[in-house]
């Protein structure tokens, strides 16, 4: 009999019931909640007279709507304010722990879960947010759910699921200096496409992945959803365990030892079978820049904007034409000639301490180019912000001409006041470059933190391997 994949193990250990047709009831260990996808779920609970099954398993935080400027002033937009206040009220009514807007621990839900140790190996983690795949970096089964499912998990601690297929993505070799986890995941999406992982749980393996820090691994798993997969994961190793030791929600003492020995099994068996395997060479990987309106429309910094006429698939060709028109780019233009006028360093993909360090290092004493209208740095959480300030990163950024903000989703999706104006072009460390994602008519280029910072100080995209 062949062995189990990591996904198989996580799935099997959370199976409560399973029907003959494969419909299963899966137990959920950790439920993260934010203000946008939860109000209708709590409303549903109330209407049905139900209570949360295990309110201790829930951790809530407002992040999408919160302002990134002076917190004490509150939220000016009344619609945003109502949504955040609704979360506060729901949490207090149902006995749920919430890091409210003024709590130091507040931040983007996918940053604070791991930071608190609320995400642990071997868990099932869900949240009404597609980037829940981030938490898979810990050898957890983590995926985004819709609001009906948020209500379902609140009421039953379970989800009705069918098992996905197993897909392995192997990145061998070693990354060149300046090439980061973000470039790895963008290259993966460029290779397999935004639907390449649909129907699969992805496991990232290989030397490049093993050598990534937890921050880097989270960046990779974060964008599994952009590759079409609900879940992405990475096996547990010493990096995972070192990261978690001493975190507020992590087990302690004898329980910690017991947990660590149980976690040793959280990897795919050597003889486990995958339906699909994709291999990338880390040695030859260049920094990536997206040029279109889908994360798969991405290329290397030393390349040019591709020509739709060279694409044989008519649907893709049309998609490329639309994207280039929206992005106002010409085929054949060097990527290094693209000049952003905004720079956004933040989001659940790239707003952890290591991301901020990488961005700060790429500035190297230079100033934001005169052609840049705004350069924002939005830390992923209050604790990331505090740490960055303790290291003096905030001063490096502000002295270079960046704005240093309060934590939240911010310009990743422009639900708060931070947004692009029509026609603005942004070098962004976030995860989606859809039309209008960062503000109506805004144009997004997805890049790593170091690439974003380099674009800010040079006024155009630059190959940071040479910068």
């Amino acid at each position: 009999m062949s062995g189990k994949t990591l996904y198989d193990k996580l799935w099997d250990s959370h199976l409560v019931t399973q029907d003959d047709d494969g419909t299963a009831l899966l137990y959920i260990d950790r439920h993260l909640v934010h203000e946008v996808t939860s109000p209708q779920a709590f409303e549903g609970l109330r209407l049905a007279g139900r209570r949360p099954w295990r309110s201790q398993s829930v951790l809530a935080v407002p992040d999408h709507n919160v302002p990134t400027t002076e917190r004490a002033a509150g939220i000016t937009d009344p619609v945003s304010r109502l949504q955040v206040e609704t979360l506060d009220r729901n949490c207090s009514d149902f006995g749920i722990t919430e890091f409210s807007m003024t709590d130091l621990r507040q931040g983007i839900v996918h940053v604070i879960g791991p930071e608190q140790g609320a995400t642990l190996p071997g868990m099932t983690v869900v949240c009404g947010d597609s980037h829940t795949s981030t938490h898979g970096a810990f050898g957890a089964l983590a995926f985004g759910i819709g609001t009906s499912e948020v209500e379902h998990v609140l009421a039953t601690q379970c989800l009705i699921q069918k098992k996905s297929g197993n897909m392995q993505i192997r990145v061998d070799g070693r990354l060149a200096p300046g090439v980061s986890a973000k470039d790895v995941v963008l290259a993966i999406i460029g290779r397999i496409g935004t639907a390449g992982g649909t129907g699969y749980a992805l496991e990232f393996v290989g030397q490049v992945i093993r050598e990534l820090s937890m921050e880097g691994r989270m960046t990779v798993c974060n964008m599994a959803i952009e590759a079409g997969a609900r879940a992405g994961m990475i096996a547990v190793d010493d990096t995972t365990i070192d990261y978690l030791a001493g975190r507020p929600y992590a087990p302690e003492g004898a329980q910690w030892d017991q947990a660590v020995s149980a976690w040793a099994d959280l990897h795919s068996d050597p003889d486990a079978g995958f339906e699909r395997v994709v291999t990338l060479d880390g040695d030859s990987l260049a920094p990536q820049v997206s040029w279109g309106t889908s994360p798969e429309m991405v290329t290397s910094i030393d390349a040019v904007v591709p020509d739709p006429d060279a694409e044989s698939d008519p649907v893709k060709r049309e998609g490329m034409r639309n994207a280039l028109a929206y992005m106002d780019l010409q085929p054949g233009m060097a990527i290094t000639d693209i000049r952003p006028d905004h720079v956004f360093i933040g989001s659940c993909t790239n707003a952890r301490i290591e991301d901020l360090r990488a961005a700060a290092a790429a500035i190297r004493g230079r100033r934001v180019d005169a052609g840049i209208k705004q350069a924002l740095v939005v830390p992923g959480s209050g604790l990331v912000k505090q740490q960055a300030e303790a290291e003096g990163l905030d001063r490096l950024f502000t002295e270079a001409g960046f704005e240093w903000r309060e934590p939240g989703c911010s310009m990743c999706l422009a639900m708060n006041a931070d947004r692009l104006e029509p026609g603005d072009r942004c070098a962004s460390t976030s995860n989606r470059n859809f039309e209008g994602r960062q503000g109506q008519g805004g144009r997004t280029h997805l890049v790593s933190p170091a690439m974003a910072a380099a674009a800010a100080v040079n006024g155009h995209f630059t190959d940071i391997r040479e910068d």
Binding site: V16, T17, D19, D21, T23, L25, Y27, D29, V36, T37, P39, Q40, E43, A48, Q56, N65, D77, V79, S80, L82, Q83, T86, T97, L120, G122, M123, D129, S130, T132, G144, I145, G146, T147, S148, H152, A155, T156, Q157, C158, I160, K162, A195, T198, G199, G228, Y249, A250, P251, Q255, Q258, A259, V315, L413, A414, M415, F434, E435, G436, R437, Q440
Partner: protein, 213 residues
């Protein structure tokens, strides 16, 4: 949830791949704390020429005449015909609420994003996967006769065209049953409450750290 058995009606063609949830319902409308009222802002950025905001009177906004839903007779469409990877992007159920609120009960496409696909069933919307050749043919048929209708019979798993051509489709048995009966998933799951409790007890012994806080 509204029951779904047989739906007949006009098919609106949305001829672009990778229609994402940001396009289906732009994020400014996600600030609502209700499940309804999203219909007028479905595909807002494609449908209107100005920028939409919650609370704005949509009846006074300039319509984009090139967008399919602004063309007669698609205002009354109940079936949406789409391309590959429909509903990609975020997990927001608001995308399905907006389609439903507009009046769509069926979305036909060659492929769907997983979370969107799942969310459809939770809200009485039937997503149907057909092979791309059939979808191509339907696009041609719709282009050839605006106001083209289809009859979707869920119990029989059949689509019938105006010309009485029958196209079969696949649907998961459990989801089909829930849609036909309009069943609430939570009620169904709570029938297993004892099994869930037994699982929890066992798990607490094996992995107590999962139950700390």
């Amino acid at each position: 949830m509204e029951k779904f058995t047989v739906i007949s009606g006009i098919v609106a063609p949305l001829d672009r791949p990778n229609v994402d949830t940001d396009a289906i319902i732009p994020k400014q409308f996600l600030k609502s704390i209700h499940r309804t009222g999203f219909g007028p802002n479905l595909f807002d950025e494609w449908r209107y020429l100005d920028h939409g905001e919650p609370g704005k009177d949509n009846t006074r906004r300039p319509l984009n005449p090139d967008f399919v839903l602004n063309q007669s007779p698609y205002q009354d469409a109940v079936i949406l015909l789409g391309r590959e990877n429909f509903g990609c992007g975020s997990s927001r159920e608001h995308a399905v609420w907006a389609l439903l609120d507009y009046g769509f009960r069926v979305v036909i496409a060659p492929s769907f994003a997983d979370i969107f696909f799942n969310n459809c069933f939770k809200n009485g919307v039937l997503p149907i996967v057909l092979d791309s050749t059939t979808v191509d043919r339907l696009f041609e048929a719709v282009a050839g006769s605006p106001g083209y209708t289809l009859r979707v019979d869920l119990p029989a798993q059949q689509i019938t065209t105006a010309a009485q051509e029958v196209i079969g489709f696949e649907v998961d048995a459990f989801r089909k049953d829930c849609l036909i009966r309009g069943l609430d998933d939570i009620g169904l799951t709570l029938q297993h409450a004892d099994t869930i409790r037994r699982y929890e007890q066992q798990r607490r012994l094996e992995a107590p750290w999962l139950f700390n806080k």
